[in-house]
């Protein structure tokens, strides 16, 4: 369940121009030292290709070797995520949504004028990459579902312990009723010894 890269690109209206990279965050720590730069270029290239082919207002998922690339194009601003096969689709798209919202909040519409690749790193994207390695963070629904499941487990345990308590209470009831009967016998005996034989 790993996110390898998050990209934000600007996709021009005509398909002849390549998309312009606006932000880039990659996690290439799992590759060997000498492969890191080539993996980064590979990611950039594939990202451009997928973004170019995603029509505006659409979401798309492409399988490329062992990665899935999820793309979301919103009016020319496109966010991509390179994730592995186990990452749930929904979380990835909600993550891309969040990234796009954050980007628009931070940079407004300045990206529309960008013509060259932006090489500065955007700290939010890097933070997002590390934070959202766990899909539950990105997708609130998943988090809620997980918490609800945990609560259900806890409740089941509670019910089990309540049932045990019920059994113990049952045995207590029996014992106390036996005790009460025995004490009544005791009282009667005592009364009998007291009242009965004044002669002895």
């Amino acid at each position: 369940m790993k996110i390898t890269a998050l990209l934000v690109l600007k996709v021009g209206p005509d398909e002849s121009k390549d998309p312009v990279i606006l932000a880039n965050a990659t996690d290439v720590s799992s590759f060997g030292f000498f492969q890191k730069s080539s993996v980064r270029e590979f990611i950039v290239f594939v990202g451009r290709t997928v973004a170019k082919r995603t029509p505006p207002g659409q979401r798309q998922s492409v399988q490329h070797e062992e990665y899935k690339v999820h793309a979301y194009n919103r009016n020319g601003l496109c966010a991509l995520g390179f994730m592995d096969d186990h990452y749930p689709v929904r979380s990835s798209f909600s993550l891309l949504n969040q990234v796009l919202d954050e980007y628009q909040k931070n940079f407004g519409d300045a990206w529309r004028a960008a013509q060259a690749d932006n090489t500065q790193s955007w700290p939010y994207l890097d933070g997002a990459l590390s934070k959202f390695q766990d899909p539950a963070e990105a997708d609130k629904l998943l988090k809620i579902q997980r918490e609800l499941d945990e609560t259900k487990i806890i409740l089941h345990k509670t019910i089990d312990s309540v049932l045990e308590r019920g059994e113990k209470l049952d045995s207590l009831v029996e014992k106390s009723s036996d005790l009460s009967a025995a004490s009544q016998m005791f009282y009667k005996q005592a009364k009998k010894t007291n009242q009965c034989c004044t002669m002895l």
């Binding site: 998922s61 399988q63 096969d85 689709v89 609800l148 409740l155 106390s176 009460s180 010894t193 002895l200």
Partner: protein, 346 residues
């Protein structure tokens, strides 16, 4: 024209009786065209010939309508039979013995039948509208509209049953998946396999059926959400051929949105179950509270009896320990024994 007054026969009564017969809703058949055409042949220049011709031309159209209606009804009947077979298959699935292929084939066949029947009913309705414009009586138009409505209703019930069967099937599949997860605990199938570009899933009905495409067209999409993806893709291939022109991106969009919808529904049902569990817990605890009260009563009874017994024993002890009476009695008894002893010895 004097020739006219002698050369015609007044067959108005026959015509009226024919009209009566034709007015009956179920008796409209090609057999009725025979007497009309034969009696039409007996006329020659007659005021009643014009309506006769329209009955002659209307009757074939009516019979055509009837033929089509009967064909549609037969189709609906066959579809409902297939549907009952599908329902039986869906009910009897077990974890390891899924007749999945059969079910899918049957499902696609039934879907195609329903689409065909839909379009046929629409055509029938158009036909009845077109022939109602220049027609003889309001009764036959009422009849045709009634027939069309009946067919539509039966088709609607069939579609609803189909939907129910599909939901039953998806529930079974969910149960199977849960059981499989319980027993195998292998790779988590809950993370749904995302869609691959090469296998788009066509969902929205570009089909022309106007009457009930939404209920059954949304079924493939919802059922595909709940099925494991592979099965859904296998099911979609027949649909794929129908709707090749569909863009593959719109379904992905739909699936994203629908997966969120299903996740929301899951969350809602989980919360509902939690509510249930809480109420059960509350009942159990209240019942146990009653037990606790009983225990308390018993203990109080015990306390009272033991205290009473203790007081009795105290009294007894007091009476034992401080009784002069007792000493006098003992003294008397000793004296008595002494006296008896002395009596017998001496």
């Amino acid at each position: 024209m004097p020739v006219k007054t002698t050369s015609y026969r007044d067959r108005t009564h026959e015509f009226e009786s024919l009209v009566e017969k034709l007015k009956k809703p179920s008796s409209l058949s090609p057999a009725s065209t025979a007497p009309s055409s034969s009696s039409g042949g007996g006329f020659d220049g007659n005021p009643t010939s014009a309506p006769q011709e329209t009955t002659r031309s209307a009757a074939p159209i009516q019979s055509e309508f009837n033929k089509r209606a009967s064909r549609i009804a037969l189709g609906i009947h066959q579809t409902s039979q297939k549907l009952s077979k599908l329902a039986k298959l869906a009910k009897k699935t077990s974890v390891f013995d899924d007749p999945t292929l059969e079910i899918q084939e049957l499902t696609t066949v039934i879907k195609q039948d329903i689409t065909a029947l839909n379009s046929a009913v629409v055509d029938l309705q158009l036909l009845s509208n077109s022939q109602n414009e220049g027609n003889l009586s309001s009764d036959s138009s009422a009849h045709s509209t009634t027939v069309v409505d009946n067919l539509k209703n039966s088709l609607m019930t069939t579609t609803k049953e189909f939907k129910e069967v599909l939901t039953l099937r998806t529930e079974n599949m969910k149960v199977h998946e849960n059981r499989r997860q319980l027993f195998s605990s292998s790779a988590s199938k809950e993370s749904s396999n995302p869609f691959i570009r090469q296998r788009p899933l066509a969902t929205r009905a570009a089909a022309s059926a106007a009457i009930s495409p939404p209920p059954w067209a949304s079924e493939p999409s919802t059922s595909s959400q709940l099925f494991p993806r592979n099965q859904a893709e296998g099911e979609s291939h027949p649909l794929l051929q129908q709707q090749q022109s569909q863009q593959q991106l719109a379904p992905l969009q739909d699936n994203f949105v629908q997966s969120r919808a299903t996740a929301l529904q899951n969350v809602e049902s989980t919360i509902h179950e939690l509510g249930n569990i809480f109420t059960q817990l509350a009942t159990m605890v209240s019942q146990q509270g009653e037990l606790a009260i009983r225990i308390d009563e018993n203990m109080e009874d015990t306390l009272a009896s033991v205290e009473g017994a203790q007081s009795q024993l105290m009294r007894y002890f007091n009476s034992i320990s401080s009784n002069r009476w007792l000493m006098i009695k003992i003294f008397f008894i000793v004296i008595l024994f002494l006296m008896i002893f002395l009596f017998f010895v001496a």
